[in-house]
């Protein structure tokens, strides 16, 4: 195991996992001195019946200080300030965030406002603005994907000013993340596939990008193994409880890995496709993952070869000669995308031209690729990619990923 000249690693969130982990929330809150939580969620989560499961599990142990289900798909400053008021009016003393990235980010924003007894979140932007522990925050993720339940960032949008603010502080880490299989059980197959591939991408990029370290490595290794063993099965059999729990744990491990090692080209281009075309993040990740591996392989062949073990298991690993293990990894990721495509009746996209928006129009029109390639130059994720990238490189990768053909490795400029 490689010990870098210098590294940092931190995951101070307490993880509580199980098929009945929700029931532990009251005693976990009590251990933090809290007994009246505000539940923050969105309409989708509430509509799927998940809030009822949460309240049934905890209402005998705590007084619920309110349920707010109006978090929009993109976190919104106005909603943050409004929920903070609700928290204060109802004399709550903790927050339970039930949902995906936007809900958890919103809850982190609310927590800043209520802990500092302020009226506006924006007073706390900038490094070092947070100086002490906030109110207890419990995150209950409902998508096994983003990893926001273990990260210290909150991205809040000021819709009026069209500005995204990223708050970063150790004090923003949830105190506790509760991973319960019931929270992802009703996720439709294509979302299961997409969010699962999002998590797998976090872990794989964490394992081969520049800022990897021993603990991000072992978290990533475990995440990859758990996700690859279960993703296809839970997509086909949504009721597989153990598989659901393994995916949720895998996604958190992947979140721990990538938030401590940073990510590279796949996230770099994926963020840009998302911001230019509005394409879901998870779809971009699953499409771009094989290309990130191909593009960087000449620099990271050893690391990528090691990935064959958690992806395919020892029986496959030992039969593949060492010098082609990394290529096998790429082939298996493509096969996995293909299998997920089949298992979701074609809804899991394998290349950008296959993604349609809600009106059935192409989500990523080919003529937008130059804009995406340019936008990617401004995204910080490229810093940690093993091989350098410029506009031409970005465009080459995007075009191959649009068409769904392997990268022409002779065109990669090896720096």
């Amino acid at each position: 195991m490689k010990l870098p000249g210098y590294y940092e690693f931190c995951c101070s969130v307490k993880l509580v996992a199980g098929h009945d982990a929700l029931e532990k929330i009251p005693s976990l809150l009590a251990s933090l001195g809290a007994k009246k939580p505000l539940i923050i969620t969105d309409k989708g989560v509430a509509g799927a019946g998940l809030i009822k499961i949460v309240t049934d599990a905890i209402s005998s142990g705590v007084e619920i200080g309110g349920i707010a289900d109006n978090v929009p798909p993109d976190s919104d400053l106005k909603v943050v300030n409004q929920l903070a008021k609700l928290y204060q009016q109802n004399h709550c003393d903790a927050i339970i965030a039930v949902g995906g990235g936007s809900v958890i980010d919103t809850a982190k924003g609310v927590n800043i406002v209520v802990s500092e007894n302020a009226d506006d979140l924006m007073k706390f932007s900038g490094a070092g603005a947070l100086k002490r522990a906030l109110k207890p925050l419990v995150a209950v993720p409902t998508t096994a994907g983003t990893g926001s339940e273990v990260t210290l960032v909150a991205v809040i949008k000021d819709q009026e000013k069209h500005l995204k603010m990223a708050f970063t502080s150790y004090f923003l880490l949830p105190n506790i993340s509760v991973l319960d299989s019931r929270m992802t059980m009703t996720m439709p197959p294509f979302i299961t596939a997409m969010t699962g591939m999002d998590a797998l991408t976090h872990a794989i990029e964490a394992y081969y990008c520049l800022q990897k370290n021993p603990l991000s490595d072992s978290s990533a290794h475990a995440a990859i193994s758990m996700i690859c063993k279960n993703i296809l099965d839970v997509t086909k059999n949504p009721g597989n409880k153990d598989g659901r729990l393994a995916m949720a744990i895998g996604a958190s491990l992947a979140g721990i890995a990538f938030s401590n090692s940073m990510v590279g080209l796949v996230h770099n281009l994926g963020h840009s496709v998302g911001s230019v075309c509005g394409t879901p993040h998870g779809a971009c990740m699953s499409i771009l993952l094989p290309y990130g591996l191909e593009y960087n392989m000449h620099k990271r062949r050893n690391e990528m070869s090691e990935l064959l073990l958690p992806i395919a298991g020892p029986e496959v690993y030992k039969t593949i000669p060492k010098d082609i293990r990394a290529d096998k990894v790429v082939a298996l990721i493509r096969k996995l995308n293909n299998d997920l495509h089949q298992a979701t009746g074609g809804r899991h996209a394998r290349c950008f031209k296959e993604i349609m928006d809600r009106e059935g129009k192409p989500s990523v029109p080919r003529e937008k690729l130059p804009d995406v390639a340019r936008a990617a130059l401004l995204d910080g994720a490229s810093t940690y990619n093993p091989e350098d990238t410029d506009y031409e490189d970005n465009l080459m990768v995007l075009e191959a990923a649009w068409e769904g053909v392997p990268l022409d490795t002779s065109r990669i400029r090896k720096g």
Partner: protein, 390 residues
Amino acid sequence: MNLSNSFEFTCPTKTNSGNRALENIPVELESLDARKPLVITGTDIVDQQLIDIFLGAFGNSGMTLGIFDSIGKNADSSMIEQLKKAYIDEKFDSIIALGGGPVMDAAKSLNIMVSLPTADLRNSSATSLIQKPLRPLVYVPADTATGLETSKFASINGATLSSHYFMPNLVIIDPRMTRVKNGKAVFANTLAAFCRALEAYTGQDKNPLTDSYAFAAIQFICENFLTLLATPGDSKAGLAIANAMAMSGCAFSNVEAGMLHRIAQALPARINAQSGIVMSVCLPHVFAYCGKKSGYFIAEALLPLAGHDEYAAVPAKQRLEKTLKVIGQFLTELSVKGPERIPASLTEAGIESSMIDDILSNLKLDQDTQMNADDFRAVLESACEGRPVA
């Protein structure tokens, strides 16, 4: 791993490891809202030269430090009372423990006392009063680390207190501090960390997070321990071993003590059971026994012990046998090349088989559902004779 079992995992500790890690302390303290740390160390434990390097790292940070350098071989309560008074009178806002063992025990105790002024540490349930994080605690290991500094345990007045709140906010592993001078202590302490990590990785209540820490710890020890014994000044190997020690404490804090640790704790005090030497004597016997029971994951340890290729090359059915063989060979090599020999049996270490009944009575077996007295007896008998478990 059986996912039908639920688990909880917590490790509040951030790790900064590597070149010039010490220089990051002021920034890290600031992000924890601390600006005036009290440094606790002991000149018996840490060389004055290292204390000077440490202080030099604060260079032009503008931070005011208090330094208490008189921690001896054990942390006692009167000294901690004295520290508490100084901490409160001088308005310190954080604690840095420089060096291992009793230094960190004192720092953990002090942290409870200044965060919860009413706590009485003579009462072992004092930790149950803690409901929120204590003051920021930074741990800087030197070569006298035991590996338990990052754990949830603190040894105070001969008793062991336990709370996740004892775990430091930050561990700063800097190669200037971890360069090995005291080879004998490092040998025993690294063996203990190895046993701790292996037991966490193979035990019934392991989880994917304890696996992460234990996996990295085992690999670092396997890859660097012999190098360190051959070249004690090797700063890279010293850094890797210091990392492994810190990781082992974290993994160990999130699992129940397994058979190996329970045996070690039940041995007569004069054996110095925590030293790692005696645990290493028992390790092959405990693992051979547990490997035949269901619910243990001994065979899986082959991956961190031997690496990807060797793990995959061994058929699943032969993995247990291979794991035991690799551990046996590693211990034999360590025994030959280390500063002291690892005894071949418990008897050689001073435990006669006639003492087994006494040891069993120390074990509080009524609480144990997994292993009964016969199980422990079988392992102890085999460890006394020094032969593999039949």
